[in-house]
């Protein structure tokens, strides 16, 4: 009869595989990565999905497992040894055993979709062929199929099948496996976004991509759950929710490598066809990873000095080559509004006027040569729903990274657009202005702003104030 193994618990990182520029496995970096992670984990998982196992040769997989065993300092090593065909999988499992692995993690056979019988036979053959503990592995996101619960239920009877890793994030599946096989095998959660609910539901541990980035958080979650302190466990899970989501949904190992790099651990690049950034992981999301690591205290934040424009309102539009006297002469409308608390506060300085005034020239010129790192954007409610009167948003401070820029072209732009249409609807901005005038808004947004939703509301309110000043009380600022 099956016997549960004592080490099927705790936090295991699904290690990335570092590659050199020329595409070779970077053994030194792999060792460095393990040394970085080891103090906070209960074991290691080389050659998993996050480790790009499907891009590795048989020899490379064996070597990576050897290194992991060497570096593990006696902690268990669960070697990824899955393959599409049974014959190949058996070879990988034999190699892993020779390399000293404690157990093997075998993904559901993929690409061709075998029947339930075929899936059962796959695991049965492997378990018979090699005497090593085996973990089943359900990951429908890449397989396009679940490892059927009824098959798991039967496989759990095989003595050397000791566990299952469930990466689906589908808690109905996790609960079903616990219900039908939990008496004989242990379940690891493999989806970073649902660690706490899975632990509360009864899983014994986890294999996670993010467990090489913030393993100590996951250790603390386990501790809190064991102590029955769900409030603390929720707080901890929440603190890494966004990063976990990015890792799970936007590139997996690719995103983890970027995070490690920001933390000073060089894990190299992924193998093609994956791209370091610009593929599944967007540049914008990479910028978000940095911000979240700063928030977690994993990397130092580059604090930026920030202050709102202080000059008299009419003096603030020098970047548009509009002097106070030119504004006065052309009778341009001026208004300003400042709303909110640091760091989501915002100040909006508005200039509006006829298209055949110097403002019209400034507007056209901005679109031919944007200020460096202060590219102006046309205000839209959403793409193809351009606000009128046509309005440019000009960032008041340089945008040093895409995350900061996103605060301008996301929440700020959306809020400015809504404030303008609010004013059109209320009649504050006359309908004739839609055709006859243009506007430019100097948007001062704190580079440290974090909360998009708060920023959005502050900008909408500040812009409303600025419009009321500009259009409400005469045209001469």
């Amino acid at each position: 009869m099956p016997i549960k193994v004592p080490w099927m618990k705790g936090v295991y990182p699904a290690l990335v595989t570092p590659f050199k520029k020329n595409g070779d496995v970077d053994e030194d970096s792999f060792r460095e990565l393990i040394r970085h992670t080891l103090p906070n984990v209960d074991g290691l998982v080389p050659c998993g999905t996050t480790g790009e196992f499907n891009y590795l040769t048989v020899e490379e997989q064996k070597r990576l497992v050897e290194i992991a065993v060497e570096e593990a300092g006696g902690k268990p090593v669960i070697a990824g040894a899955g393959a599409s065909g049974t014959r190949q999988a058996i070879q990988l499992v034999r190699n892993a055993k020779e390399a000293g692995a404690t157990a093997c993690l075998i993904v559901t056979p993929f690409f061709l979709h075998p029947s339930d019988k075929g899936v059962y036979q796959h695991y049965y053959d492997i378990a018979q062929a090699v005497d090593i503990p085996i973990l089943l592995y359900n990951i429908p996101q890449v397989m396009d199929a679940y490892l059927p619960r009824r098959v798991v239920q039967d496989l759990a009877d095989i003595p050397n099948i000791v566990g299952i890793k469930d990466s689906s994030g589908d808690l109905t599946y996790t609960m079903e496996v616990l219900e039908f096989a939990g008496d004989r095998i242990d379940v690891f959660v493999g989806h970073d976004e649902v660690v706490l609910p899975a632990l509360a539901g009864g899983v014994s541990g986890m294999i996670l991509a993010s467990a090489q980035v913030y393993p100590e958080v996951w250790q603390a979650v386990i501790k809190a759950v064991q102590a029955g302190d769900l409030v603390e466990a929720r707080r901890l899970q929440r603190s890494v929710q966004k990063l976990s989501r990015i890792f799970c949904r936007y590139g997996g190992g690719v995103a983890v490598k970027q995070a490690l790099k920001m933390m000073g651990v060089d894990a190299g690049r992924p193998r093609r066809p994956l791209k370091s950034v610009g593929g599944a992981l967007l540049h914008e999301d990479r910028a978000e990873i940095r911000l979240e690591l700063e928030r977690l205290g994993k990397i130092e934040s580059k604090s930026t000095d920030f202050s709102f424009p202080q000059a008299a309102l009419a003096e603030r539009f020098g970047d548009l080559e509009l002097s106070a006297s030119a504004i006065k002469e052309a009778k341009l409308r001026l208004g300003t509004g400042k709303v909110g608390k640091s760091p989501e506060w915002a100040q909006l300085d508005l200039v509006a006027g006829p298209k055949d005034s110097p403002l019209g020239d400034a507007y056209a010129y901005q679109l031919t040569y944007p200020l460096h790192r202060r590219e102006a954007l046309t205000t839209i409610l959403e793409p193809n729903l351009t606000v009128r009167p046509a309005t440019l948003i000009l960032p008041a401070v340089e945008q040093m990274n895409l995350r900061q820029a996103n605060m301008i072209y996301g929440p700020t732009q959306s809020a400015v657009a809504k404030a303008i249409v609010d004013a059109l609807e209320a009649g504050v901005v006359p309908q004739t202005a839609m055709d006859d005038e243009v506007m430019v808004v100097l948007a001062s947004v704190d580079p440290r702003a974090l909360d998009r939703h708060a920023l959005y509301h502050n900008v909408r309110a500040a812009m409303t104030e600025a419009i009321e000043q500009a259009f409400g009380g005469g045209s001469d600022g």
Binding site: L367, T368, L381, P383, N384, Q413, L424, M434, D436
Partner: protein, 490 residues
């Protein structure tokens, strides 16, 4: 064997249900629509999916069926949509259709709660008892369940009033199974506009189509060609309408058809909420639909004047009812064009258009006289003089190629297309100038999409700048619901 009827063949439009400004059924517009399609079709389908049956009261459904019967006046059969979620309501509606004089009922598989197929079978068994000919209706895109072939086969063979099936899935293997099981015994109709020629060629007896509101004549042409064994002609016309019907099928169906009819001068209002303009039928689709209707000769050209700061020129313009009567105010016009997908290859153009003596012309000449590290500008065509400026700093050779070759090619071709279409007035090209500020994502890869999305975005931007769109009512109606794509955290 079989219940096949003589009348269930050919082209049937799935009529939209016109609504007035205050959201009531617009009977006059509905009658006008029927008169518009009637000469080209073999039957009418009121209260189908395209007719927004799921948003209509029982009384309204009854009324639009009655009107269709009245307007058709025995010239063509009426197949009334009578499907509902419960058996009870479906039976009631089917009885109403029978009383109203419909030739048959189009009965969708019960939806939302997903009954098992034996429950579906017995649902239709009750409807069968009414005595009105029934057309089974498979539309998994909406109902959430796909007929199993054995369910359809069983109903075709066991229920004496089942005379046909409409398959809107576009799943040709399913259709082939239907041909194998029940061809000749019931009428088999295709309901997916993108595969009509293929389905007819494979043996379908006809088609019930949303886009047959817009182009009934072209569908009739395709149907007739297949009947005559002329597959080359059928394929040619299917290809001609493919882009139009893909927009209709995939991008908001009923709202797309309604706006298309509006562009053709048949105002039928908007869909009922929660369907809304600029929703599933996105603005970029609207531009494209209009262009396709122009290409198919469904939107004609009329003379329009352009007052270029004093000098008046004219053009044969593809005007739609909302097009301004006269174009003026060429100091500075602003237009935005956005086209995708895919995300990395999307195009976003900020366009300025004006006379050379105005802000646009001055900005162009000044830009050309200055050094622009990372933002090199280029004049890409002289008629009208058009400056291409990159939004994003150009850092790599790949970006250079994407901006100055692919995007530029798309923009130039768009300008040529708009001159050809009469949108940019040939006689005013020497006075006018434009600045196209183009955004190409640094991670873009597919060159063809960069080019083509810029082509689409530029055509939209030119038209929007000239026609002063979006209009005030669009902005106000959609202000609250607008979904800004970058407002949210990942």
């Amino acid at each position: 064997m079989g219940n096949k009827t003589e009348w269930f063949k050919g082209i049937f439009p799935a009529l939209v249900t016109p609504f007035t400004q205050n959201d009531e059924i617009d009977e006059d517009a509905y009658r006008a629509l029927i008169r518009h399609v009637l000469p080209h079709v073999d039957g009418l389908v009121p209260a189908g999916t395209t007719g927004e049956f799921s948003y209509l009261s029982i009384e309204e459904r009854k009324r639009i069926i009655e009107i269709a019967v009245e307007e058709a006046g025995n010239r063509v059969p009426i197949v009334a949509g009578t499907g509902a979620q419960s058996t009870r309501e479906t039976v009631e509606l089917t009885r109403c259709a029978k009383d109203a004089g419909a030739a048959g009922a189009l009965v969708v598989a019960p939806y939302y709660l997903k009954p098992s197929f034996n429950e579906v079978y017995e649902h239709f068994e009750r409807v069968n008892e009414i005595g009105l000919p029934i057309i089974l209706y498979n539309i998994p895109q909406c109902s959430g369940s796909h007929f199993r072939w054995w369910t359809a086969e069983g109903m075709a063979k066991n229920f004496e009033n089942v005379v046909g099936i409409k398959d809107s899935s576009g799943d040709l293997p399913f259709m082939e199974a239907m041909f194998e099981k029940v061809k000749g015994e019931i009428g088999i109709f295709v309901g997916h506009d993108e595969v009509v020629a293929a389905a007819l060629a494979a043996g379908a007896d006809g088609a019930i189509l949303a886009s047959a509101n817009l182009i009934p004549d072209l569908w009739q042409k395709i149907y007739q060609a297949v009947q005559a064994g002329d597959l080359a002609t059928a394929q040619k016309w299917q290809a001609e309408v493919q882009k139009l019907v893909r927009i209709v099928v995939r991008c908001g169906s009923t709202q797309a058809v309604k706006e298309g009819l509006g562009m053709m001068g048949l105002p039928v209002g908007d869909s009922r909420h929660p369907i809304m303009p600029g929703g599933a039928f996105r603005r970029e689709d609207r531009e494209e639909l209009r262009i396709q209707l122009e290409n198919l000769g469904k939107i004609g050209r009329v003379e329009r004047e352009f007052d270029l700061d004093g000098r008046v020129v004219t053009s044969q313009y593809p005007a739609v009812p909302r097009t301004p009567a006269r174009f003026e105010g060429f100091t500075l016009k602003v237009g935005e064009g956005f086209a995708g997908p895919p995300f990395q290859e999307l195009a976003h153009i900020d366009l300025l258009l004006g006379v050379k003596e105005g802000p646009v012309g001055r900005a162009i000449e000044r830009a050309l006289s200055e050094e622009r590290p990372g933002h090199e500008v280029r004049v890409i065509t002289e008629r009208p003089r058009t400056l291409l400026a990159p939004t994003v700093t150009v850092r790599t050779a790949k970006q250079r190629r994407h901006v100055y070759e692919e995007a530029a090619k798309g923009v130039v071709q768009a300008i040529e297309a708009e001159i050809g279409a009469g949108v940019l007035p040939e006689d005013g090209l020497d006075e006018l100038c434009m600045i196209a500020n183009v955004f190409v994502h640094p991670a873009a890869a597919i060159r063809q999409r960069v080019m083509f999305n810029n082509f689409k975005a530029m055509r939209a931007a030119v038209r929007k700048a000239l026609e002063g769109r979006p209009a005030l009512d669009e902005l106000i109606n959609e202000k609250e619901a607008a979904r800004h794509p970058f407002r949210y955290a990942p």
